[in-house]
Symmetry: C2
Subunit: 335 residues, 2 copies
């Protein structure tokens, strides 16, 4: 089974062919998520908004697209040794779920300080948890140790051609569901999602605008675009816990060359966008998932030269895995 | 335009014909809401669950179905005088929205103690608010006064043939989307929704089971079924603010004769079901909307003689209009 053909000289880690190939491969394992619209939110934003609800995706986020593409493109003998990842978030849950669907082991390195609900998701999908210290160094060295011991295939959360191609399948559905889009707004972290979405979107419609939405407390992508090189932040501070990673060498070229702009919003704007998602759309998103709506409602976006040209805007509600424990406690306390 | 034909002798306020007629009438004004499923919730409940997401309906609840059926079945000269209602909840918002769609005035009597978010919904849809005292007597006398002054048509939230027929259209969609259902669980308050759903469902499939889900602090329907007559409670106490009404003379016969059973759950079970809707389904329901899931997960339901026969269960997530203000305040305070 020869799956990816990147032998021809090409600039980026994925292309429309690898993304279409990924879609064919993963269709049995994913939901085609719905696109919601809301006259109330259209009137608040002054635009036509199309919300791609990846929070309803299997595992609660778009991550199953890349994870299932990677796992189902492994040769049988390779797959039998299992897969390993050292993300503690939605990617870890998605890798666990996709591995379960293929019937192979998933080894998930989780730092000791990971949020309980994310750990629970990994457990629910049968991932084998291996604890590490909180540092990236400890996570990576633990992953290497597991790889050497088991022969498992490492599935990086974003800096991996198979992952980028899988995440790009969002575009294939979205542009079929809402062909009138002139702009797509995508949360940015390590850049796997936005790279796949951009490569597919610009191939289908070269004039489409792709904007990254990034939290102020982890604005490495905006800084990288300005500096013309990958910028790493020494620390991040944002409610959007899914958006703290830095770009990788496979995602940076796409962000540098093809992503039109980065809209930076603060955490208060993210919470307000969450509120609108819950109260108007009735969709329970996580903070990282609401950031696209925050971007289009932000003053910063309205000041952009291209603001008036934005009419039909696709917004990726990327995930819904959030621990609202405090809310349930409060509600129960008031019974 | 002669719309409803109840001249033939019939036992109940609506039938499959009036419900199909309603569906044809309201299709341009409503969403065909999706049916969600979740392997996680199937495994928690041990059943196959099919969630009919009426929280995504226009106006945030199923109420637009009955309201648009009532309003679009008015003769033109009658419609021109507008409509009046004295519900403060989802029905008021739905009447305002349907009246706006028809281009006629909606007079909404709202008690001074109504929750702000419900009042906001009425305002957003252009309803004309007329304040009354909190008592039912004051609301009704204010409504009568408005009726006499304007000639507006009164649209009762549930004890109205047009409303019952409109709410019954949920069944037409649901049994097309999930024909395998053997049971449907429906929140019960005044009984408009469950009457319409039951009349349609038993007409399409006489062996289908329809269960009402009711909060312990407003368990008048369960008591009514036991007593064989409509029981009114002197007070109600439940987090499910949409489920506090008593049955009417048009809904009671359906509940008495055709609704198979009433499952009573407490508020803690409702909050737990809300949590599962948010955290697993990623659907932001109001407490009243989550009660069907609470019912199927309750110990009480597992003790029923018919529990083992329940396999494929439709659950109506009836609405999503809930004020989560405290959550956003907490999140913002922690930024």
């Amino acid at each position: 089974m020869e799956v990816f053909n990147y032998s021809k000289s090409q600039k980026y880690a994925a292309d429309i062919d690898s993304i279409k190939e990924a879609h064919t491969r993963i269709i049995p394992y994913i939901h085609k998520t719905p696109v919601f619209s809301s006259t109330s939110l259209d009137s608040i934003s002054g635009k036509q908004l199309f919300f791609k609800c990846e929070c309803f995706q299997k595992g609660g986020s778009f991550k199953i697209r890349g994870a299932s593409n990677a796992i189902f493109s492994l040769e049988d003998d390779q797959a039998a040794k299992g897969v390993v990842t050292h993300s503690s978030g939605n990617h870890a849950a998605a890798v666990s779920l996709a591995a379960k669907l293929r019937g192979i082991p998933a080894y998930v390195i989780i730092p000791k300080n990971a949020p309980i609900c994310k750990v629970e998701n990994v457990k629910r999908y049968g991932g084998q948890i291996i604890w590490s210290e909180a540092t990236l160094q400890s996570r990576e060295s633990t992953a290497t140790e597991v790889q050497q011991r088991t022969g498992a295939n490492l599935i990086h959360p974003f800096n991996d051609k198979r992952i980028i191609s899988g995440q790009g399948t969002v575009t294939l559905e979205l542009l079929e569901q809402a062909p009138e889009l002139d702009t797509i707004i995508v949360p940015i972290s390590g850049g796997g999602l936005i790279s796949g979405i951009t490569l597919a979107a610009k191939s289908i419609n070269p004039s489409i605008r792709v904007l990254a939405a990034e939290p102020k407390g982890a604005d490495d992508s905006a800084r990288s675009k300005l500096a013309g090189r990958i910028v790493h932040l020494s620390e991040t501070n944002t409610i959007a816990d899914g958006l703290r990673a830095s770009l990788g060498d496979l995602t940076w070229p796409v962000v540098r060359d093809l992503v039109d702009d980065v809209i930076v919003v603060d955490d208060e704007e993210i919470v307000e966008a969450m509120r609108l998602c819950y109260e108007v759309l009735k969709v329970a998103v996580e903070p990282s998932g609401a950031i696209g709506l925050a971007a289009v409602l932000s003053d910063q976006c309205k000041k952009k030269s291209y603001w008036r040209e934005m009419k039909n805007i696709g917004i990726i509600l990327s995930g819904g895995n959030v621990d609202l424990g405090i809310l349930w406690e409060l509600l129960k306390a008031n019974i």
